[in-house]
């Protein structure tokens, strides 16, 4: 499985993502500059990493979503290719309308960085196939604009179709205000598109890919992706 990590000016988790994927899977990972107009030919998996692309100016992810490479990224997603947006990457996916909704400033108006428990809501996505439904995992968060919002009816539709993949919870898997770090609607931490090939999440799985530096739940995340790819041949 060949992975392409898109690098925007201001991205700062691109090298982290490359390290985590290469370290967890041993597969080929390449950095792709935002000004390119095509993805490398054999690209199977595209990641939009975290950071502050374009300084978060105007709106988080707004300018990155209009970068030259995004046409090819959207095409990859529309063809059913695996596409993942982490943190700023999730913001870019919503700005690109590849995922529904928007990310607003945290309810506390403060940036927050800490370990974070998530409940796995859906294991029928290629990103979560190796987890079990209801399993509680730990992926750290680090964001100032993570409040997921969606109009009422669309939110209901998202929930009904099982589009919520990760929900903020406590260590026992219980959701609630105290366990929600940013005020996201329905405690939503990560969602997937209807087809199931595009995932956006605010927490950072690459920061939980090594026991020494944050926990290993992220490894299962990367392994799910590889396993699903290998099985599905996508």
């Amino acid at each position: 499985m060949n992975t392409a990590v898109i690098v925007f000016p201001g991205s700062n988790c691109d090298q982290d993502v490359m390290h985590a994927v290469a370290g967890s899977l041993g597969t080929k990972v390449r950095a792709v500059w935002h000004k390119e107009t095509t993805l490398p030919e054999d690209t199977d998996f595209v990641i939009l990493p975290g950071g502050f692309s374009f300084g978060d100016y105007l709106r988080c992810g707004a300018m990155a979503a209009r970068s030259p490479i995004m046409k090819a990224v959207a095409e990859h997603g529309r063809r059913g290719g695996l596409l993942l947006g982490i943190c700023n990457g999730f913001q870019i996916l919503t700005e690109s309308r590849l995922l529904p909704g928007a990310l607003l400033p945290n309810r506390t108006l403060n940036f927050v960085c800490r370990p974070c428990f998530l409940r796995v809501e859906s294991v029928s996505t290629p990103f979560t196939s190796l987890f079990s439904k209801g399993q509680v995992v730990q992926f750290p968060i680090a964001h100032g604009d993570g409040l997921y919002t969606l109009p009422e009816e669309e939110l209901k539709a998202l929930e009904d179709r099982g589009g919520v993949v990760f929900r903020y919870s406590d260590s026992d898997g219980l959701t609630g205000d105290n366990a929600n770090p940013n005020g996201s609607a329905n405690n939503i931490a990560g969602i997937v598109n209807e087809r199931g090939n595009i995932l956006g999440l605010m927490p950072h799985p690459e920061r939980a890919s090594e026991a020494l530096t944050g926990g290993e739940d992220g490894r299962v995340f990367w392994q799910s992706i590889l396993e699903s790819f290998t099985k599905g041949g996508r």
């Binding site: 209009r66 919503t94 108006l109 109009p151």
Partner: protein
């Protein structure tokens, strides 16, 4: 001719305006008893070279569609200087 176009961007009704709420609380805490509510938005100016004020407005609207406004959560209005 060069026109200065002012674009006022605000969150749509129903979208949580946390900044507005926070500012409202601060002002109320400072004793502004007449205050009822606050909405925090953005003000962007663009200078464009077009044939008419109407064309300038159209250019600005295109820019809003292309980048400046996220229509999922924001709405906007435009004022053209000289119109």
């Amino acid at each position: 001719m060069t026109y200065r176009v002012s674009i006022f961007i605000e969150l749509q009704e129903g979208v949580l305006d946390i900044q507005g709420k926070a500012v409202e609380r601060s002002l109320a805490g400072m004793g502004h008893d007449a205050l009822r509510s606050v909405k925090v938005g953005k003000y962007i100016q663009v200078w464009v070279e077009t044939g008419s004020a109407e064309d300038a407005r159209k250019e600005a609207e295109r820019m809003c569609d292309d980048l400046l406004v996220n229509s999922v959560i924001e709405q906007f209005r435009i004022e053209v200087e000289g119109e």
